[in-house]
Structures are given as C-alpha cells and as structure tokens.
C-alpha cells in the first residue's frame, strides 16, 4: 500500500478493469502469443476429434421414409436409351446433333417439355475489374462460328398439382462428340428417374433435366444454361435466331414445343449433378460427393446428409469424399493419432462419460479429409459443375458414382441403374417434401468424413486462437516503441514539461504514420502485382516458367519504382533522425495490417484465412532484425535467426506452394511454372484467394523481410 501511493500521490487513478486487463495482456504478450499460436495449431490438429456426426436437421425432408418406386420397367427403358446412345457413338456419321435429338425424342415421348439451348464457349479471359461482379450478361461474343457451339437439351416435367413456383434440377453432363459408357450410364440413371417422375402423383415441384453438352467443359455448359435462365439477354435474341446455322428439324408435333425457345420453371430448390465413372479396379460401387463451389461456398449440409443417408442406409453404396491421400501414410500423423487414442482411453477409464477418443486410423482419415476439405475450400475453385449453381444461391452437389460396369454384363448394368436411380429418386423425393428452401442446417462447415462434420463454431476456435495474438503483439510493440524513450525523459524531468518537449513527444507518438505509409505503399504494390498477369497473358507463346519469371522481374521492378517514388521522404526522415525503434513500429503496423487482412479474408473465405494464418502468423510474430540478433551472440538469438529464415522461406507463396507440392506429390516434375499455372487457374475462376495472396500475403511477407533485414 505504501509503495503505490508514494509512487504517484496525485493520481489515485483506479483504472477500469478492462484497461487493466488490456495492459496485463500487452505486458505478457510474448508468452501469450506463443501460447495462442501453439494452441491454435493444436486445436487444428484436434479438430477431427471434435467432429460431430451429421444429422438431418430439417424434419420435412424425411429421407427414405417412402419405398422407392423405381422398378425394372424404368430401368429397361433407360437401358434402351443407353444402348441407342452407344450405338449412335459407334456409327461414324453420327454428328453431335444426333445424340441431342435422340435424347429430346426420348424426353418428349415421356410427355416432358423439351427445349434446346445453344451456347458458345467463352474463353476464360481475365478481367481485372470483373472480379467480384456477378456473372455478366453483356458478354462479348467474338468469332462465333457455326460449328463451335454447344447444345444443351432441357426437359421439364410440370408437377401435375403443383403451382410451378419451385423446381428441382438434374444435370447430366456428357460429351456430345464422344459418348463414353459412363456418360451414357449417367444419362440412363437420369432418364430412369425422369420417366418415373412423369408418372408419380406426389410431385410438388417441377423437375428440370439438363443434359449439358460438355464439349467445352462441364462447367461451361451448365453455367451457360444458368446464365440464360437467370440473366437472359433479350436484345440479341433476334440476331441469334437469324444466324441459326443448321436448324433442328423435328417432327411436326414436337417442333412446336421445341421452337418456343427457352423453357423455364420456377425458383430452383436444389440441383444434383450426376456423373458415372468407370473404375474397373474397384470391386464395389462407391459414390463420391463433391460440394465445394467458388470461394469455398458449400451447399446446405442437409443436402449432403440426405445423399449420405440414402446411399448408405438404402442403397448400400460406399460414400467417399475427397481426401489428401498422401496424408494417409504420414508417420507423425499416425503417432499423433495413437497418442490421442490412448489419451481418450485414459480419459474413458477415468470417467466413462468422457468419450473423445477415436481410433488412430479414423483420426488419420479424418485429418486427410479435413485437409482436403480445407484445401479445396481455400482454393476457391468449384470442384464440379455444381459450382455454377452456387453462384445463383442454389444448393447443388455432384454425385459421382464409380462402378465396375461393362456393357456386356447386362445384369450388373441393370442392377447399377436400379440402385443409382433409386438413390436419385430418394433424394428428389426428399427435396420435393421440402416446403421451404434449405435453411435449417449448416452452410459453414468442414467435412471430416461423409457422416462427420465440423461446424463454424468449432473450427473458428483454431483461427481465432492463431489470430488473437496479433493485436496483442502489435499493441505491445507500439507501446514499447513509444513509451521507452519518453519514459526516460519523464524520469529525468518530472513536472516541468516544456512546450517544445511536448511537441517532440507528440511528433514521436505520430511516428507510426511513417510506418503505416510504408505498409500502405507495399500493399499498393501488391495490388499492382495482382494486375500484372493480365498484361503478361497478352504476350503470345509464353511458357508458364517464362511468364512466371517475367512476372517476378516485373514485380521487383515495380517495387523498386514505388520505393523510389513514394518511399524516399521516409528515408529522409530516417536519415535525419536515426530511430532505434523504427523497426518495431514497422512490425507493429505490419502485424495490424495482417490481422485486418486475415479477419476480412475469414469472412470471405474462411479456409484461405485459416491456411494463410498458419503460414503468416508465426512469420509475422517472429520477425526480428537479423543485425540485432547477430550482434548479441547468444544461442537464443541464433535459434531466432534460424526460425526467421525458415518461416520467411515457407511464407513466400511460390516456395510454399512448391514445398507443399513436393511433400504431397513427390519431387518429380516440379517446376516454377507449376505455380504460374496454379495461379492462372485461381484467377480464371475469379477466386478470392488470388486477391488474398496478392493484397495481404505477399505484402506482409515483403514487410517481414524488410523487418528482418532492417538496418538498425
């Protein structure tokens, strides 16, 4: 009691508890940041343990409550279609239009409304200004030639007693030029379901079957159809019709239906993309679910749940989701899994109600699935044609049924069609039961297995822990840089603070503005770097490696120019008033910028932010000038130097990419061009990850390097 009062008698300023807490955190920021970071990484590793079993949240769905109605009759009809399609493919003279006409004939025989939709392939041009804009209707259609168009066939069943406000979409992509057996089978499955649905009485929503012509890619075809559905262009209609190259001659009766142009049904409730792959090495049929759409958006978890439930409990299919296969053989992961398992056993022996242990094998599988789930969400590229639907807020997934089917084994093919058809029928029936749109279950989740998921509330913890240390460290750095010198002065001359001195203090307290300016300049440079590939793409005949090298050179060049133009006044000030703590201020501002950037990114694409935080947070926190470390020759300092260098190496996006590629895919055939290709695919899909890399990650890395090499 005596000490505190003698220290400063006048202000018995009892600070607010929150301020005191903040000061406590800042003063212990080193310890806390280490604890937070390790806790964040540990939580990430623990996530497979925390995964919950999926459950069907919307009661109206009632999957599997009705017996499947699909019978062998529909299957035999579908078999006819499959046979006709494969025969068509064998014929040499069969043009692309033949198969569409055949499918349309089959559809209209069922009593469905049939229409064709013509579309032109769109080159994936990089439009720097169209990044976040919605799909543009006023697309420029250059060099349309008669031969180069795709033709989607669309069949619509109107629900007999429905009001036509909602629709369920079935998509079967197939290549009209070369129809494989798998594609023919996927059409067969869709056709069997479609023919059943024309007869059923329970239908409440219209059914749209889109047979997408994947001549120019599956996504492009589905996207073209959706664009016509949602953003039709009226002004070009007449011209388009006028230059019909070779018209589609149909029978008298079907012609009238087909000519009426684009057919529509109501708001889409859900969409299912059906694909069949022929995998001869497998013995049992399995089903892969792809759900990731652009920028890590996921469909409602209920949609995956229905498919999972019906496939596992009704049709006996094995469900798979994408995994990082190389992680399955990881030694350290296995050891970690075993440790966790034994911990779980120990906890269980202490209290039988504590059940958090899972078998080590499950843990490894869960981790592999989680890693791939994170990676594909972070990439921001849709994993199939379903991604096009998510752009219009329609829940969609791709079901890839892989089976060992050969055309000569009729019984097996029938069985396959029956099972696949019943699965699709069940899903459609569930969605048909739905009165409202999908809203009950999660939209933000990561899958650790087809029947286990992590909701946003759980996986956020890891990110929050990682990121939490950033503002603390930034604040403590700032406080140190500002407080230390004035503190000395204050101790020397207690009350008589002259006017000039005060001015000096205020000037010094605004010192961070210089650092902020530097950070801003570097971030601006990041934006410039982002735009450079647009110009590099214009260079003809450029291999990925050379473009990458050109890009790096141009980036360095622009960085130098920017520093020369904008950075010079800063160096002036620096020279006139050598400041010991300048690097600390710079680091503090860098860390704050990284924090803001990561938090923003976590809103747009959480997985990117999570992976970015894993790479960036340790790098930002560790950054320390090499000179200072080298000066004081201690083991601790040298280890810090080593850490700094390693983190800076792994933090650079190209090296990070290449290192991960080496680890997961092996060393053969690695070149820097791969990074360029990867980046190109990211911007072609206008993924936010591209922006993140250019605007947040790269500038932060540059600034960290700057701090490390700071001449103090």
């Amino acid at each position: 009691m005596g000490e505190s009062e003698s220290e400063s008698e006048a202000p018995k300023v009892k600070l607010r508890p929150i301020v005191r807490l903040g000061m406590f955190l800042i003063s212990h920021s080193h310890l806390l940041s280490v604890v937070c970071c390790t806790a964040g990484v540990l939580t990430l590793l623990l996530l497979p343990l925390l995964a919950k079993n999926t459950y069907i949240s919307e009661n109206a769905l009632m999957p599997g409550s009705a017996n499947p109605m699909l019978s062998s009759q529909e299957v035999s009809e579908a078999n006819g279609l499959v046979k006709d399609l494969t025969n068509l493919d064998l014929k040499p003279m069969a043009s692309g239009i033949e198969s569409q006409r055949l499918i349309a004939q089959y559809m209209s025989n069922l009593g469905a409304e049939v229409s064709f939709q013509k579309f032109y392939p769109q080159s994936n041009q990089f439009h720097p200004l169209h990044f976040f804009s919605s799909p543009d209707s006023a697309t420029i259609r250059e060099n349309i030639s008669c031969s180069s168009y795709g033709l989607n066939t669309v069949g619509i069943i109107r629900a007999p007693r429905g009001d036509g406000k909602e629709a369920i979409v079935l998509v079967t992509p197939y290549n009209s030029e070369k129809i494989g057996l798998g594609e023919a089978l996927s059409l067969g499955i869709a056709y069997s379901v479609f023919s059943l649905l024309t007869r059923v009485t329970w239908l409440a929503k219209d059914i749209i079957w889109v047979v997408a012509d994947s001549k120019y890619g599956e996504y492009a075809a589905v996207d073209a159809w959706l664009r016509d559905y949602y953003i039709p262009v009226f002004s070009g209609l007449g011209i388009q019709n006028a230059e019909m190259c070779h018209g589609l001659e149909e029978n008298a009766i079907t012609e009238r239906d087909m000519r009426d142009g684009f057919k529509r049904a109501g708001t889409m409730a859900a969409a299912l993309v059906i694909k069949v792959v022929d995998r001869s090495e497998q013995f049992e049929d399995s089903l892969s679910i792809y759900a990731e759409a652009s920028n890590g958006q996921m469909p409602n978890l209920d949609l995956i749940n229905i498919v999972n439930y019906l496939a596992v409990h009704r049709q006996g299919l094995r469900i798979k989701v994408e995994k990082m296969w190389s992680l399955l053989n990881c030694k350290w992961l296995m050891i970690l899994g075993e440790i966790l398992e034994s911990l779980g056993h120990l906890a269980k022996s202490l209290n039988p109600q504590w059940k958090f242990g899972i078998p080590a094998v499950d843990y490894v599988e869960g981790t592999a699935t989680l890693a791939s789930s994170l990676y594909y969400q972070a990439l921001g590229i849709p994993t199939g044609p379903h991604g096009a639907f998510r752009d219009y807020q329609v829940d969609a997934i791709t079901l890839e049924i892989s089976s060992r089917v050969s055309s000569n084994n009729k019984g097996r093919q029938n069985d396959f069609l029956l099972r696949g058809g019943r699965l699709i029928e069940g899903v459609i029936r569930s969605v048909n039961n739905l009165l409202e749109k999908f809203h009950q279950s999660f939209f933000l989740y990561l899958l650790t297995s087809p029947s286990k998921f992590l909701s946003v509330g759980v996986y956020m913890i890891a990110f929050a822990l990682l990121v939490a240390s950033l503002p603390m460290v930034a604040a403590s750095l700032y406080a140190h840089a500002n407080n230390l010198d004035p503190g000395f002065e204050k101790n020397k001359s207690n009350h008589p603070a002259s006017a000039s001195d005060e001015l000096g203090i205020t000037l010094r307290s605004w010192k961070w503005l210089y650092a902020a300016k530097k950070v801003l300049v570097v971030h601006l440079w990041g934006a410039v770097v982002l735009l450079l590939p647009y110009f590099i793409c214009q260079i003809p005949n450029c291999s990925p490696t050379t473009s990458f090298v050109v890009w790096v050179l141009l980036s360095i060049f622009s960085l130098i120019i920017l520093f020369w133009i904008l950075g010079s006044p800063f160096s002036y000030v620096n020279a006139s008033q050598p400041q010991q703590r300048e690097w600390a201020l710079l680091k503090s501002v860098t860390i704050s910028a990284a924090f803001i950037g990561l938090c923003l990114m976590s809103v747009i694409n959480f997985a990117t932010a999570e992976i970015g935080a894993l790479l960036m947070v340790p790098m930002c926190l560790m950054a320390h000038p090499l000179k200072l470390d080298v000066k004081s020759r201690k083991l601790r300092n040298f280890s810090r130097v080593a850490c700094n260098l390693a983190l800076a190496f792994i933090g650079f996006p190209p090296t990070a990419f290449l290192v991960f590629k080496c680890v997961f895919e092996g060393f053969d055939g690695i070149s820097v061009g791969d990074f360029w290709n990867w980046l190109e695919s990211i911007w072609a899909w206008s993924s936010a990850t591209y922006l993140y890399i250019g605007m947040i990650h790269l500038p932060c890395w540059i600034l960290c390097i700057h701090v490390i090499l700071h001449p103090c």
Binding site: S4, E7, G238, I253
Partner: protein, 672 residues
C-alpha cells in the same frame, strides 16, 4: 305460394315430353320470374391424352321485388343474403389447384379464357355502393366468403393484398376490387360448401359424378362461383341474381400402360368413359333442374384431323355410331348415340368447325345409368387453338437485394384465319393488355420498364399505348400496373422487363414458412381484339342451355401467367432469443458500469483512502487494502511488482487447488 313448386314441377314434366310446349311455358315462366336451375357437363378430349370435364350449374333468382320476399325455393339463401347485404353487382370467386396448360389444353376458347384461373384463390367483386364504402363492403364480403367456403379469404381484407384498378382487368366503374391468394391450398373442405349451394347437392344429377378422390387426382381442378345481380336501382333491366357455378377438371384416363410404346405413330389416345374417369355413372338427373345435359365437344383441330382421316380411308364400315357430319368417322366410337349434334357457326374459320354432341340425361335412371364412353380406334394428333401470343413471366437475377420481373411473349403462329384480312396492312397492331399486382415488399421501379420486340429494344412510347401505374405504398397498398401494348402483327417475340428491389418485412409480417419465399400473384394478359365466342347452330335457338349461351358471349381472350416465388431476406427466427440474451448482457454491462461511474465521487474516495491509511485499522482491512493496492500497482511497474506475499499466496492457492483436484481424481478412480 304453395302452388308454385307444383307448377315448376309440371313445367319440367312437360318439358321432358313436349319440347314445343316447353318453349311457351319457359317464356311464361320467365315472365313470372321463377327460380331456375340447370346442370350441364361438357366433356372434351384434350390433345395430350387427357380429358377435360367442365361442370356448369346455373341458378337464377328473380329480383327481390317480384319474388316472395326473402324466401327462395332453389336459390341458396346464403348467396342471396350476401348479395343484398353488400350490394354486390358482380362477383367471381375461384379456387384452383394445378396450372392450366395454355399450350396443350387451349388458350383461345371460352373455357380457357373464363375458366382457367391462377392457382389458389382469386376473388373480384363489383359493388354498387358509393365509392367510400367500397372498401368496407369488400372487407365484409371477404369475411363472409371465408366463412362460407372454409378458406382464408379473410386475408384479402387487408389493403396490402387487394387492389382497385381502373380498366386493366375488367371494365367497371370504380367499384371493383381484386385480390388473389396464391398460396391457398384447395381441397374438399372448399368443395363441400360449394356443392351445398346446389339444390341437389351431390346426391343426384350430374354433381353426383363428383367423386372426391378422382377429381382431386386430376391435373387441374378449378371451382368457380360467378354471381351477377342487377338488383340495382340504377339499371333499368332487372334480371335478378344469376349464380353460375362451374367446376373444371382435367383428368387423365387410365391408359393401359401404353407408355412402353415410344414412337408417336403408334400412340393411340386412351379410351375413356364416365365411369372410368370419375368412378361413377350418372344415375339420373336432379329433378329440380330445368335442363340437365351432357355435351361432348370435339375441337376444331380434332375435327379437321378426323375429316382428313375420313377422306383417307373412304372404305369404312357402316356400323359406326358417330353421327352428323362425322357419321361414319373412323377415328373413334361413342358408346351412346348422341341426342343432338351441333356444329359451330363458323364464319371466321374456313377450315372446319368444332362439333358438339348433346345427351339429355332425363331418360336415364339408376337402373339404366348414363355412361358415355369414347373409344379411339386410330391414333389422332391434333393441336388446340392457342392465344395469339404465348405469355410467360419469370424472375431474373439472383441474390437477396434486387431482381427483375420479365414478361415474355412468343408468337404462337396463328392460323391466317385468326387475323383475318388485315394481316397485309402495315398498321395492323396486336393489342395486349397487362394487369399486374405486386405486393409492396417487392419494390418495383416502374421507370425501369423496358420493352424488347423481336430482340430489339424499343422506345416505350412506340409500344405502350396506355399505362396506368399506382406504385405500392409500404405496408399500405400493393403496386398495380395496367398496360396497353400494341405490337406489330408480325411480332415473333417480345419481352418486358421491370426491375425491383426486395424490401424488408417486420418480424411479425412474415408468414409461416417464410423461408419458402414470397409469392407475386399472376399477371393477367388480355387480348381485347380477339374474342372467344362459340356459336352453335341449332334447330331451335330459343331453347339454349345456359352454358352454350355463356359460350356465345363475346369475351376477350385472357390468360394468366405463372405465380412467381421471390426469396426475400429472411431472418433466422431463433434469432430473437439470441438477440434478447445478447442485448440483456450488453445492457447489464452498460448500466452496471454507468451506475458505477455515477455513484463514484473521486474526491471522497481519496479522502477515505487517506483516512484509512492514517488510521491503520484492524488487520483484515489492512490486508485487503494492501492486496487491492498491489493489484493496482502491478501494471504500473511490471518489473518490480511481484512481491513475495502475493506470489506466496498464489502458489499456495495453486497447491491447494492441485491437492483438491488430485483427491477428486483419486476418489473417482477408486470409487468405480
């Protein structure tokens, strides 16, 4: 009073025996304003293998002045009271399930333009009251009807759901109100009260055919109630109240698994009979009905096809029962020989005219039930007459913020006969009226109206001839748009777009199942230049049935567009709980700290502290104050704050906690 029903009865008896006398008596009857009831059923095969059944019941009541006060013999009293109380001049109420397929079931005949209705409930009424009382009358009417028909028509009472319009939908002089409930589910509970209005209910006569499971199994089901009264003081002619009840169903006859055959050449239309589509037979007429007839209509296209078929195979057996012009038609066979055959008076259409077979069911009874059957013998494919433009409406754009309503018209390749002689002229214009009501939460920007004709954007003034817009007012009234468009006759396709913003609703304005989205009711498209009227040539034109008279009326071709579903931003309805918890926490924190600040007097506290320091009071308070001082001082100088006592205390505390935890674990381990 007592002798009146007997007279009606006798008239009906005479009617059944002597037709020539009946006309005289009918005239006689109409002079004395009797209540009359007639029942009719029209059957029509549709091109897409379905059958249309259209029941038409008409009840008339004489004007109040000439009848027996408030007493009625046949006319439902509930309706009569409703007319008298609310001064309803004209009213139409329809309950519909399913969508009318304008392409396949026709869009250019009296049935489609007056009986095809949008899904859900549609109600419009013209009142004969001063303008300021119209809304009150409407409110009362909706409540009454909602009670009468077991439906939630009372939701139409609020001003956000109904609209008054000028001229777009129905020509009237201001007293008209129009409202629809697209989401209303229609079922037997609505049909039963509707049937109760019939004098024979569904116990006898044609209405006995209405077997609930079979009519609700159909593809389209619309029950309609149309009311006209001219009890008004203003109009000179008084014809009393005419209540017209119509039920239109489209049914699928049970085909014998013909779906296996794919090629359309072998596609025979399914044969049907009354008992196969309704599961019942007509066991006699309703004895109270003045006339009770069943008609079978063959469409123009079908007749043409049949005539072609007849020409093709000229050698046909003489045993075909078909009569009239298609006496020996090879296409189909009727199980019952029709009593009469009418041919459409065909002035405009040169090709061929539709044919109507009449069956009077007065001679049928329970022992000899009437069961009309139609058996197809040759596959016939024909097209139904369609409206000049096929109209459809859809939403464009995605997201929760804004969107676009688009109405598109596509020409249906009219036969040249429709447009008649003026096809060659340049000034030929095709007129289409659009009447559209949009709820207020869809904020339509009417200035964004854009018109495209044949793929080219057009100036509004070139196409829109007349326009009346009353913008929506939030939570008060819906937006109404009435347009008169004039397209060139050679138009292939046309489109209209209107942009809108999606509004926010208050939490208690959300309906149940709000996540489904919100409905925009159907727009009405009217082609006033095209009249649907079917005039049938008859031998005695004086004795026309009410339904055929109705068909003769010239009414413009009218079609309804689709209902649209707009997803609006919907809150998470479990959110209020979260919000309440969070706000309560925030408020508690806020008020706590505020009270803390307000209560504190800094000077006073300092004084007390000083006093305490000087006093050196008892041991415990001193310890406490020392502790608090330490906590306070700790942050100020971190290097020197940790005093021995505090660290000692904390380590002791940690030790204690550890011991307790260890005991607990030990206990847990050994207790098992």
């Amino acid at each position: 009073m007592a002798h009146l029903p007997r007279r009606t009865h006798s008239i009906l008896l005479i009617l059944s025996f002597q037709i020539c006398f009946s006309t005289i008596f009918a005239v006689f009857g109409s002079v004395f304003f009797q209540e009359e009831f007639s029942e009719e059923l029209l059957l029509k095969p549709l091109p897409d293998r379905k059958v249309l059944a259209h029941f038409h019941f008409e009840t008339t009541a004489p004007p109040l002045s000439t009848s027996h006060g408030r007493h009625h013999h046949l006319f439902p009293k509930a309706i009569a009271q409703l007319v008298q109380k609310f001064h309803v001049k004209e009213m139409e109420l329809s309950f519909t399930q399913g969508r009318w397929n304008y392409d396949r079931w026709g869009g250019f005949d009296p049935i489609s333009s007056s009986n095809a209705k949008p899904p859900g409930v549609e109600l419009w009424a013209v009142f004969d009251v001063p303008k300021d009382q119209v809304d009150a009358s409407w409110k009362n009417l909706t409540h009454t009807l909602s009670g009468l028909f077991c439906a939630s028509i009372n939701f139409l009472e609020s001003s956000t759901t109904y609209s008054a319009h000028e001229w777009g939908f129905h020509p009237s002089s201001g007293g008209l109100r129009y409202g629809t409930l697209p989401r209303e589910a229609v079922c037997t509970e609505n049909l039963t009260p509707w049937l109760k209005l019939l004098p024979c209910r569904d116990k006898a006569g044609l209405s006995a055919l209405l077997d609930r499971p079979s009519i609700y199994r159909g593809f389209y089901h619309s029950q309609r109630l149309h009311l006209t009264s001219s009890e008004s003081h203003s109009s000179g002619v008084e014809s009393g109240i005419v209540l017209e009840q119509a039920l239109t169903v489209v049914l699928q006859p049970n085909s014998h698994k013909t779906s296996k055959t794919f090629l359309s050449e072998t596609k025979l239309q399914p044969s049907w009979s009354l008992s196969s589509i309704f599961g019942r037979k007509v066991t006699g007429r309703c004895v109270l009905a003045k006339s009770s007839n069943v008609y079978l209509q063959l469409e123009r296209g079908l007749v043409t096809e049949l005539e072609n078929l007849q020409k093709d195979n000229a050698i046909t057996g003489p045993d075909h029962i078909g009569s009239g012009g298609l006496k020996d038609n090879p296409g189909f066979e009727l199980s019952v020989r029709p009593d009469k055959e009418f041919k459409e008076a065909n002035i405009l259409h040169r090709k061929s005219s539709s044919v109507l077979y009449e069956y009077s069911i007065e001679r049928y009874s329970a022992f000899e039930p009437f069961d009309l059957g139609l058996t197809w013998k040759f596959p016939v494919v024909w097209l139904c007459p369609r409206a000049p433009l096929h109209s459809s409406r859809f939403l464009m754009g995605s997201g929760n913020q804004r969107g676009t309503i688009a109405i598109s018209f596509i020409s249906t390749d009219l036969e040249e006969g429709f447009l008649g002689a003026n096809i060659g002229e340049d000034s030929c214009k095709l007129q289409a009226n659009i009447f559209q009501v949009v709820p207020w939460y869809i904020k339509v920007y009417y200035h964004t109206l854009r018109v495209f004709v044949d793929g080219k954007p057009q100036a509004i003034a070139n196409v829109v001839e007349k326009m009346h817009v009353s913008p929506s007012e939030d939570k008060v009234s819906p937006g109404v748009m009435e347009l008169v468009l004039k397209f060139p006759c050679a138009v292939k396709s046309a489109a209209l777009t209107l942009e809108f913003d999606k509004g926010f609703l208050h939490i208690d304005e959300y309906p149940p199942d709000a996540n489904q989205g919100f409905d925009i009711p159907s727009a009405v498209i009217i082609f006033p230049n095209f009249q649907t009227s079917m005039q049938y040539l008859e031998d005695n034109s004086s004795n026309k049935s009410p339904m055929l008279l109705k068909f003769q009326e010239k009414s413009p071709v009218l079609s309804y567009t689709e209902i649209l579903l707009v997803p609006l931003t919907t809150p998470d309805f479990s959110m209020p709980y979260n919000v309440i918890t969070i706000t309560c926490t925030v408020f508690a924190l806020y008020f706590g700290s505020l009270l803390n600040v307000l209560r504190r007097r800094v000077g006073e506290e300092e004084r007390i502290l000083k006093n305490r320091a000087s006093k050196k009071a008892g041991r415990l308070p001193q310890l406490l104050s020392r502790l608090s001082a330490k906590l306070k001082g700790k942050e100020w100088e971190p290097p020197k704050s940790p005093s021995t006592s505090s660290s000692f205390i904390s380590s002791k505390l940690i030790l204690k906690v550890l011991i307790v935890a260890g005991v607990a674990v030990f206990w847990q381990y050994y207790s098992e």
